[in-house]
Amino acid sequence: MHAEGFAESIRGAAASRTPLRLRGGGTKDFYGQALEGEVLDTRGYAGIVAYEPSELVVTARCGTRLAEIEAAMSEKKQMLAFEPPHFAQFGSGETTSFATVGGMVAAGLSGPRRQAAGALRDFVLGVKIIDGRGETLTFGGQVMKNVAGYDVSRLMAGSLGTLGLILEASLKVLPLPVAEATLRLELPEDKAIETLNKWGGKPLPISASAWTGGELGVRLSGAGAAVKAAREEIGGELIDAAQGERFWAGIREHTAPFFGSPVEDAAPLWRISVPSAAPPLKLQGEQMIEWGGALRWFFSQADARTIRDAARRAGGHATLFRGGDKFAGTFQPLSPALMKIHRELKREFDPHGIFNRRRMYPDL
């Protein structure tokens, strides 16, 4: 598949006002409000365009397997520091379902290391996109610092394919930490939140945290000496390295026991993003806390309004991440002023409204 093929399809769809559903491996089909339109499969446009370890940059086409760029990086002892989830197990019924680079950027999701390293949007350096007129546009580049023009590249991160087809993305990469260690501590919820925030104010090399059911896992990453010193300060039980790696992979990929296997009548999974120091959310259901307190996963049967009100009171927002009734809206509704800007931006990039209609909000 050539990029020009996509552009032609998009121009055709724009002319006939045919909605398109931009899709990579389909591993995040579950995520978002609605799936509408003819599938435009990006997997045929694949490959690493450039990878310069000493520049800390990788550029890849949208259909490239996320696993492929990760393997290339791991060979050079580097990584995507935001630990994007693949969610391969959520691909709908295909045995070969895999996460792609384009889908990763469009979904904008980050994993456990986000609390220390930053989110996917923090690592986007440049994109090439096709807009809703079929025009190929290039924003940003391959360099770390670039303030020429508006930062459209980062705007694409998490835009769920509603503004354009991401053809190519350049991402900042980081060296793998020299040393890592995982510790396990027993703490009640309120104490865990407080402790994580206090640690956050100290120069400790904490790269991930996960609390559930009274147990707190903490990952340390950095120079060998720093990890060793932090182990002494934090205490708790040291987990075997391989087991620790599996533990964090399970949280990143939602394969850990907490996330269970998708069951038809199970409670929906809510993703509640709050200021890290927000006190425990008084919601019914099973909870896991990540990101030093800033991310709270809930399997809860409570109604959407109760959950969204709790999130808002805590200074954050709630996403109906998986399962449940999407009628209540997947994402927290925006203020009218913000919604207006969203609609205007959508109109500028996709004037005929053909891309991923209603994937983000029912009226976008």
């Binding site: 609390q115 670039n146 303030v147 508006y150 980062r154 104010g201 200021p275 927002h317 800007i341 205007e344």
Partner: protein, 494 residues
């Protein structure tokens, strides 16, 4: 005639002043030349323009009144923080209102547990770190103007500093911005959680140079102060070797807290000024800092020294005390004023290039020095490939000024040619607006105008900065034929 000697239409001025005075306290509206003169330029003093009116709101409600007034009367409005910007982003307009946020300088809250600070836009960058210091926290972006520049201006420009490689730019360190639209509406971008629903509009706002909305409040992230920091001062007898050493450090899996480079002419200028004890025989000096726990710093300093030695450093000194670390840095931090001492004027560029092209671009700058007969010492944020070549000239000599502009234009275009950008941290403003036509095609420029329209449909916020009109690009292209080809051949030319 309705136009004053300074080019201000005073009938229009009287109309705008009368309307603003109904809505703002007395003293918050300035229009007499002796009062508005000090606003005629920002840190890029080569460009000057007296504003028609200056408005000095003291709170968000007054900012709304100013913007509502400008929207009603269709008057363009230029927001200004501390006026330290280096690209003329806050250059006033003779038919516009200059909106100064300098009176809004309160630190509203510091939350040591959540590690955030909520501040008004006029608060200086350094004041945020000072307010955080009692809790062992700091605000990471540290532009060289940090004692004076404002947070609002930092957000507008996406400012950097000498620690970006490890700690990121402003965009990585701001959680939330509250802003007023041209219609006077209040919008919250981002939030105090780590992400927010919908599009990442905060990323668009950061670095938008006052073109999308006027910021009235910012929440920034605070980081724990590292317990220890040490810096290596390495000498190289060859610029290219120094450039390669930078790549070698990164390739070795180390992210230094700071990685700065300067060439011999820059080192000489600063040594005469601050006596930092620099090696003046070296062709290039590298400053390479590690911070963190004392154990981490020892480990990093040892491995970085090893890499630097293997990369051919002719001498290596490691700061033995905090005083010595400060001394090593004093030279780098004083580079601009030091260069200011040896030349009546200097012109600072801000291109960013892939690190591996450092040697090639430095060689090219050396050739341009000969071609234009002007000296150009170089200081860079080498770790992130951000160059600050400083062209020395005398602004009173029209020919020198002209040669300087040509020289700078060629350097910026070289940055684009090797895969970089015309501006890493200073912004486009008015200064690099023509080079935007070289870096971007008309299609992208059209998309940028679309982004602006989504926020500011009538184009009243800081018009003429940051994003050139296609007409301007066509005009620039006519004067600027590169390699025998006219850029943008598809555009009509008038």
């Amino acid at each position: 005639m309705n136009v004053s000697a300074t080019g201000i239409n005073f009938i229009r001025q009287a109309e705008v002043v009368a309307r603003l005075r109904q809505r703002l306290p007395s003293g918050a509206v300035l229009y007499a030349e002796e009062d508005t003169r000090s606003y005629e330029c920002d840190g890029l003093s080569a460009y000057r323009q007296l504003p028609m009116v200056v408005a000095l709101p003291s709170n968000e409600e007054e900012v709304r009144e100013v913007l509502r007034t400008c929207n009603e009367l269709k008057v363009p409005v230029v927001a200004r923080g501390a006026g330290t910007g280096l690209s003329g982003g806050a250059l006033p307009m003779g038919d516009g209102v200059l909106l100064s946020l300098a009176k809004m300088r309160r630190i509203l809250a510091v939350d040591p547990l959540a590690r955030t600070a909520r501040v008004q836009p006029g608060v200086t960058n350094l004041a945020v770190s000072q307010a955080a210091a009692p809790y062992g926290l700091f605000y990471a972006p540290d532009p060289s103007s940090q004692i004076a520049c404002s947070i609002g201006g930092n957000v507008a420009e996406n400012s950097g500093g000498v620690h970006c490689l490890k700690y990121g730019l402003t965009v990585h360190n701001v959680l939330r911005a509250r802003a007023v639209t041209i219609e006077g509406g209040i919008v919250e971008f981002g939030g105090e959680a780590l992400d927010s629903p919908g599009y990442d509009l905060l990323a668009l706002l950061v670095g938008s140079e006052g073109m999308l909305a006027v910021i009235t409040e910012v929440t920034v992230k605070l980081l724990p102060e590292p317990e220890a920091a040490r810096v290596i001062l390495a000498s190289f007898d060859d610029l290219e070797k120094a450039g390669n050493a930078v790549a070698d450090i990164i390739a070795a899996g180390i992210i230094p807290a700071g990685l700065e480079m300067m060439d011999r002419p820059a080192a000489r200028a600063v040594e005469d000024f601050v006596h930092a004890g620099y090696d003046l025989d070296a062709a290039a000096l590298l400053l390479c800092e590690a911070d963190g726990t004392p154990e981490e710093v020892e480990e990093d300093i040892a491995s970085m020294s090893e890499v630097l030695r293997r990369s051919g450093a002719s001498a290596i000194r490691i700061s033995a005390s905090e005083a010595e670390r400060q001394k090593f840095w004093a030279g780098r931090k004083a580079a601009f004023p030091a260069v200011g001492r040896i030349s009546p004027d200097y012109y600072c560029m801000d291109g960013t290039i892939p690190r591996r092209k450092l040697g090639e671009v430095l060689l090219f700058i050396g050739q341009l020095e000969k071609k234009y007969g002007l000296r150009c010492p170089n200081v860079f944020h080498a770790g992130d490939g951000n160059l600050h070549p400083l062209i020395l000239f005398d602004a009173n000599d029209a020919d020198q000024l002209h040669r300087t502009e040509q020289f700078a234009g060629e350097v910026l275009e070289k940055c684009i040619e090797v895969g970089g950008t015309i501006t890493g941290e200073h912004g486009v403003g008015i200064e690099k607006i023509n080079q935007m036509c070289v870096q971007f095609r008309p299609q992208e420029i059209t998309a940028f105008h679309g982004v602006k329209r989504a926020f500011d449909p009538e184009g009243l916020l800081n018009p003429g900065k940051n994003i050139p009109t296609l007409h301007r690009c066509a005009e620039f292209g006519r004067m600027h034929v590169k390699g025998g080809r006219l850029p943008h051949p598809e555009l009509p030319r008038f």
